[in-house]
Amino acid sequence: MVRLTDLLLASLLALASSVLADNIKLQQVDRKISLNSQFVRITETVKVKNVGDQVVSEVILCESLGGDAVLSSYKVVETSPKNVLAVSRATVAGAPAEAACHSVNLANPLPAGETVGLTVTAVLAKAQIPYPAELGQHETQLMLYNGNVYVLSPYSVSSQTTEVILPTSTVKSYTDEKPVSKSDNKIKYGKYDLIKPFTEKRLSVHFENNKPFKHILTYVKEIEVSHWGNIYVEEKYEIKNAGAKHTGSFSRLKYAHMNLKANSFRDLKAVLPRSAHSLYYVDLIGNISTSNVRKAPTSTIMDLELRYPLLGGWKVDFTIGYSVPLKGFLTSAKSGQRRLTMDLSSPLEDVYIEDMVVRVVLPEGATNIKANLPYDMEKSFDIKYTYLDTTGRPVLVLHKQNVAAPEHAAKFSVDYDFNTVHILREPLLLVSVFFGLFVAVIAYNRMEFTITRDDKWEAARSKEVLATYMEQIQALLEDEATILSGLARATIQLREASEVDAVQREKTTVEKRLKDLEEKVKPLLAAVESRSVRVGSQVRDVLEKTRLLQSRYFKQLSDRIDLLKKGIALGEISRKLAPAQDALTAAKRELEGTITTVFGAY
């Protein structure tokens, strides 16, 4: 006896699986499978009809992946208003093992009885299998593609056509499922009516494909931002020819002469930003000179030639680098956040990247780092130490696998906070290093390194102390000379009797200052005499001479005042005082000479 609960459960399950398949029907599916490159590009135009009585907001679409095939890019766009729809992986009960299904969220829920048009673009990598797997040097490459004749769908398809586009018209064999027709390089399958859900019929095409199979095994892109005005970009590649493996010998001569290069390639083309400069193309050996750079209106195009042509299974590695200025890439928003916008994927054309890592190195002091990405990538953080770094620069590491070149070429942006003060970290580091050097010199000069303090050291020490006093006395004498020259200038500029009072006042201040200096000199003189009598007497001599000179200056001034008061003309005054003036100048020069000889040794 069957229990009621079991019956209920079974019916519910049946209902669930049938609800999925029954309320939606695909009215028309037109599929184009393009095998015209290393990828398999499938474009489907699907007309979805809601044949149930409830509103439908989700449609499930599937692709068949055979063998090692990887679904690199899957996009669904609504045909009429051209909305890009959100897509997520889904597992469907009853789907064959090799089906990759996606659940598509419709922009507007589809009412009962209505139809909506969707365009699906799928890019499969590693879906073409080299058959034969190994080739000699100039044999043409044949690829095998295994797909499904009918569109793999959880819903029944009313009518469908499939067109397979090949690189050349050479086809060794293809699945013969009527109605089928081949014209030139196109094979048309269709139209097939009323196909049940998940009907499998192997579609196998064995065709000639000499397009280059450029597989990049690892790709590391490092973007280093400097707020002083430059962004460095360095890209490291490891590239392999993923076509049929080369066996036998390689003759360079034959390669150079034959026109058919079969599945080998040597050229790569990189499309870089327009303002890129300081480009380099190197590998472990050094610079690779087989490259050419030209500027196009919106980009810089770099034509690279690898060091050697890659035949099937061969690989090579190289590094490309360039710099761009900040303009056009680094902006600051109103909130104060900085935004860096750059290309996310490789600049090379028509490549398949198996493992891609993008590292964004931001300046020291950048915080609150966020990335806005066009598609899902793994994020992590790292630290990099480079020029003039103290705490290291934060690195945002983005990782993705199975990237197809044209489809994944997009821009991404990184937002971060950066206080402009942090830009001074580098110069301040340099300043502190230099200052440290100077401080070391200062410290060294204050340190005493003699091991024994003997007579020679004593003699040197006492000479040093004497020199200290002599230096100080000399400084005071220089001050005195400056004051006196000031007075001399005032004397010469005295032209009228009215100015006499001002000059007299100046004279008194000068006298006072000279007296102060005298006071300062006295203890120094005593100290010098206590050390050395001979030197002391020399200094005393010099001081006598200075005093004489001072009195001469004062006399000169008073003479001039007297003459002015008498009312004699200026010309007369100058003529009368001229001899005294000359004597004064001579005495001054003599004094300077004496000072130099006496104090020069110290």
Binding site: S226, H227, W228, G229, N230, Y232, S278, S323, L326, K327, G328, L330, T331, S332, A333, K334, R338, R339, Y387, L388, T420, I423, E426, P427, L428, L429, L430, V431, S432, V433, F434, F435, L437, F438, V439, V441, I442, N445, E464, V465, A467, T468, E471, Q472
Partner: protein
């Protein structure tokens, strides 16, 4: 001038049909270096030259003044000025040569 360049990039984007992006660009400012890059050579030479002169005067001071006459304050001032000039001079030299630190 930075606003003109932002407008240029906005107009370019509009030409490619990305209007919302263009509007956003207009509210953003392009970041430039605190010192115009065309000034790097001049700044490097001037700062390094004057830094070397100040270093020279520092060492002259160290060598000529006797032990007791030295003043720590003036030594440190000379050292500080030379260090600042040499430090910034080296930075602009690095930037001029193309090592954007």
């Amino acid at each position: 001038s930075c606003r003109i360049s932002v407008l240029n990039s906005a107009i370019l984007l509009q030409g490619y049909g990305l209007t919302s992006e263009a509007l956003r660009r207009m509210t953003e400012l392009a970041i430039t270096s605190p010192v115009s890059p065309s000034l790097y050579p001049t700044l490097a030479t001037v700062l390094l030259g004057s830094g070397l002169c100040m270093t020279g005067s520092f060492f002259l001071y160290e060598v000529t003044k006797t032990k007791s006459n030295r003043a720590l304050r003036s030594e440190l001032i000379l050292a500080f000025i030379s260090a600042v000039l040499l430090g910034f001079g080296t930075l602009f030299l690095l930037l001029w040569v193309g090592v954007y630190v």
